[in-house]
Symmetry: C2
Subunit: 200 residues, 2 copies
């Protein structure tokens, strides 16, 4: 499981609260690893029990106290062990592709709409990555100033950017091919395909 190790990685740069961690996740690795706030708190609890982190309570007068988590030597050791171990399989799940797979009973116009909607979503995510995430990484880089870190952060960001660029290109190609999609045979309860010539 990578969540606890990603947390170790971030805490190794700087001690943080659970709240800070959530923001950090969303600003840096969101496009390949997400974490819910509740998940982060639950995991920090376990990590503290395992001795990977220790808590420093920082009192504040006006706001609720902060619990600042620090990585421990044991935690740092675990981070290094994990880094050197082979990575687990990646997870990809696309409801959109499942719909494309079973889309034959839809009419051509509906299928086209499906693709256009998907392209819009991709463009929005692409823009967010280029603007928000790039901005946040630049800020982080300016603060920490370690060129080796920056280069690797930038590499994972560019993976995302290149991915969306590729997928948008693929969408265009696919939509051209859709124009030559064979018409469907009649199915009970679906008059949608009549416009495409029917089966006859």
């Amino acid at each position: 499981m990578a969540l606890e190790h990603a947390i170790l990685g971030f805490l190794d740069y700087a001690p943080m609260s659970g709240y800070d961690l959530k923001k950090t996740f969303d600003e840096s690795v969101r496009h390949f690893w997400t974490a819910q706030q509740s998940q982060i708190y639950r995991t920090l609890k376990r990590m503290q029990q395992d001795g990977w982190v220790r808590i420093e309570v920082v009192k504040q007068d006006d706001r609720p106290d902060r619990k600042v988590y620090h990585i421990t030597p044991t935690g740092r050791q675990e981070l290094e062990r994990w880094l050197a171990a082979p990575a687990g399989p990646e997870l990809f799940r696309s409801e959109w592709l499942v719909k494309v797979f079973f889309a034959s009973r839809l009419g051509d116009s509906e299928i086209h709409a499906m693709f256009r909607e998907r392209a819009d979503t991709l463009r929005a995510k692409f823009a967010h990555l280029q603007d928000a995430t790039q901005g946040a990484l630049d800020e982080g880089a300016a603060k920490c100033g370690e060129p080796r870190d920056c280069a690797l952060w930038q590499l994972t960001l560019e993976y995302g950017i290149a991915y969306y660029r590729w997928e948008l290109e693929w969408m265009e190609q696919a939509m051209e091919r859709l124009a030559r999609l064979p018409p469907g045979a009649d199915r009970a309860g679906n008059g949608e395909n009549a416009e495409n010539g029917g089966n006859g």
Copy 2:
């Protein structure tokens, strides 16, 4: 949730047992939607309670009885409703990218090994998709013979193939860039980076 709808989609082509469904998933949509055997049985149970499928028990002398699941009119209606609705967000999680993000404390040689290992994994998955999945889809196409279905199945397969092709290209580019990775500053407990020039 797409699992129950993917099941509806498959049962709409032909009635099947839970065991058959698992094989069908693995041979066709595995690269964008996986399902465990136990998950399929659990979901079929719920779908039967909801009236989306009905069970036909087929007795066999030599082997255990088969439970063949048929889609019901209610199920077919639900399938159509789902198909026309907008798709939920896709899910992507890559432990490998998390490791790249935090890899700066590793030495250059270890980082290179990480990339080479990843490329090997990608090549293996790519080969499986081209051979096994393409073979299974061709068989399915030969059996059902609906060109509209085939064209869409093929499209989702080619998405996978194009994806791996893109990712392997990206890996090559990234490895070239890695050759110019800035050296790391010394960190406590890690002598690994000394070979790269240290922080003078």
